[in-house]
């Protein structure tokens, strides 16, 4: 049983792409579970994904606020409505930036409960886990969240036929692992049992690895090449330290694999009902891949 509505990735991304002004498309990378569903759409049942949020990452950092304002304006004018899951609405010029909501927009007439959420790549040198950047729309002030390892997640994205670029699972997984080398233990309030954030994110990385192996028996080579290429470009001076951090990120769920599995089968693995045994083997396989890298 999944938490969220089941969405068809191909159809949904095409629909979103038509709403994004052509000049903004090069600034957007789709990330998160919808990106995973699209990447693994050739695996039976995976084209549909259980999610409620479609994450659109805006880059580069310097242009992100302008792009967010333009995109927000365009979608609001088209009848998309702001969505405030935590109950607090847009701010004004006096609202502190860290108290502004992210901009989440539901399409007009949509009853399935999904929405797009705007995020931004971090500015150079961001060391905090999360940072907010204010931007203004005609309904008020919002903020763009930036997570520090997002540049890894969106490195060398795949091109889609509808003009939006889509993050690669290997890089999204690596970003999750690095993010939790120092595990984020913040409880996720929106999920039953309020599990710590790291359990969900690292479990997602394991789930992506399981899916990659379903897609191709040569996934290990593909992921290793993607990781090396990404790290050579973004962190050439600290590749060894990065592997160590990825190892720490993965092993932080060592004692929470059952919980991570429960969350994953209600998210990206919902169409597969992957068994706990298979999930644990995926954990082992990912650990071996990191140790061999």
């Amino acid at each position: 049983m999944s938490f969220y509505p089941t969405l068809d990735a191909d159809h949904l991304l095409e629909r979103i792409a038509t709403k994004v002004p052509a000049e903004l498309r090069p600034n957007i990378v789709v990330i998160g579970s919808i990106a995973a569903a699209w990447a693994f759409r050739d695996i039976s049942g995976t084209g549909a994904v259980a999610t409620k949020d479609i994450d659109l990452l805006l880059s580069p950092a310097m242009a992100a606020t302008a792009a967010a304002a333009t995109l927000g304006h365009r979608l609001l004018a088209d009848g998309w409505s702001p969505h405030y899951p935590r109950g607090f609405g847009p701010g004004n010029g006096e609202t502190p930036t860290d108290q502004l909501p992210a901009l989440r927009l539901s399409p007009p007439g949509e009853t399935e409960g999904w929405f797009v959420e705007l995020l931004a790549v971090p500015r150079a040198g961001q060391t905090t886990r999360k940072a907010w950047t204010r931007f203004e729309t005609n309904v008020g002030h919002f903020a763009l969240p930036s997570f520090r390892f997002m540049p890894i997640a969106v490195e060398a994205p795949d091109e889609s036929p509808f003009g939006l670029r889509i993050a690669r699972p290997a890089n999204m997984a690596l970003a999750h692992l690095l993010e939790h080398a120092d595990p984020d233990k913040t409880p996720i309030q929106s999920v039953q049992g309020t599990p710590p954030r790291f359990v969900k994110d690292v479990g997602r990385a394991i789930a992506l690895w399981w899916l990659a192996n379903q897609q191709s028996p040569m996934a290990a080579g593909t992921w290793r090449d993607a990781w090396r290429s990404c790290l050579n470009r973004l962190h050439p001076e600290s590749e060894g330290a990065t592997w160590l951090a990825a190892h720490q990120g993965l092993t932080c769920v060592s004692d929470y694999r059952r919980e991570a599995h429960e969350l994953a089968v209600r998210g990206v693995l919902a169409p597969h009902q992957t068994t706990l045994d298979a999930f644990q083997r995926a954990y082992d396989g990912l650990l071996e891949l990191i140790e061999a890298s």
């Binding site: 192996n213 290990a220 995926a282 954990y283 082992d284």
Partner: protein, 320 residues
Amino acid sequence: MIERLLFELRNTRDFRAEMVSLGADLVGNASNGCLILVGPIVSSKTALKEWERLLPAFAENVRRRMTLEIRGADGEPGAQPKARSASRGIVPLDRPNYRFEIVRQLIAADLQNESPTTIGEMLDAIGASQTPIRHGLAGLKQAGLVRSTSGGAILKTEDVSQETLAKLRAVPQTLRFRFERGAQIKPPATLAQRVLPLLRPDAPQEWRTTSLSGIAAALKDVPQLDVAGLPRLDLVVQVGRNRKSLDTSFLRLLDDGLEPEPNVLAPAPVVVTLVRAAIGTPREQGIERVRMAAACDVYLSLLDAGLRDVANHYAKAVRR
């Protein structure tokens, strides 16, 4: 028994140190020693690999008394799949069946229209000593399956059937795999597609002695074969005749949900035939350079699958 417990092992350096310490404790006495990893953070495979790498460095009378055990975080043997995964794929191997190896060599010669095979050629190809080969050959001749000529031994491929091989105890060791409960079941045709990149020259090391056999291979050689669908995926693995066990965890790359099928009568989606000859005879096929089993192995896999007519059609086509 001397037991050494290592909790939550995080690196191989600590592992090596504990191994050396255990080995030192076994010098000058007759005790056995066991190194027990409880809830290791490094993968079981890494620990096992390190164990196997270092073990030869110990004196024979010490290392044969040393064992490694990997337990789950709660200390129960095999409590976590993490601990099981290192050992669950290890299959004990039967002694080589030399009658089968001889039949295999003679079918190969027959399909290639070669002259009779001499004892010397068989010894070179199989890599065994004279006694088991001569003994095996005598049994096959006595049963009438193999004939002697002045130049050596010959066999007519079409005379070989699965029943004959069973009766003569000339059946190879085969490993059969099914999907474990809850796994994503893939049809054999899908598995046959997935296996192709694993059989190319750039495949992972552990796959380099494996080749494609059975119907999937037969159809690449003889596309006009009259077969309906692919009932199973056949593979051939060449294993040294002195090997005592085989780690089948390489099959996890083909599909993570495969596990040994204990019931020999149950249909299995993946069947692996073990060939123990010293000289491998796989070939590469097509522009993708997929490693294919020798025609004799393809023929024998078809027989094992109960497809004798198809096997004979195949033999006739490849002999031409």
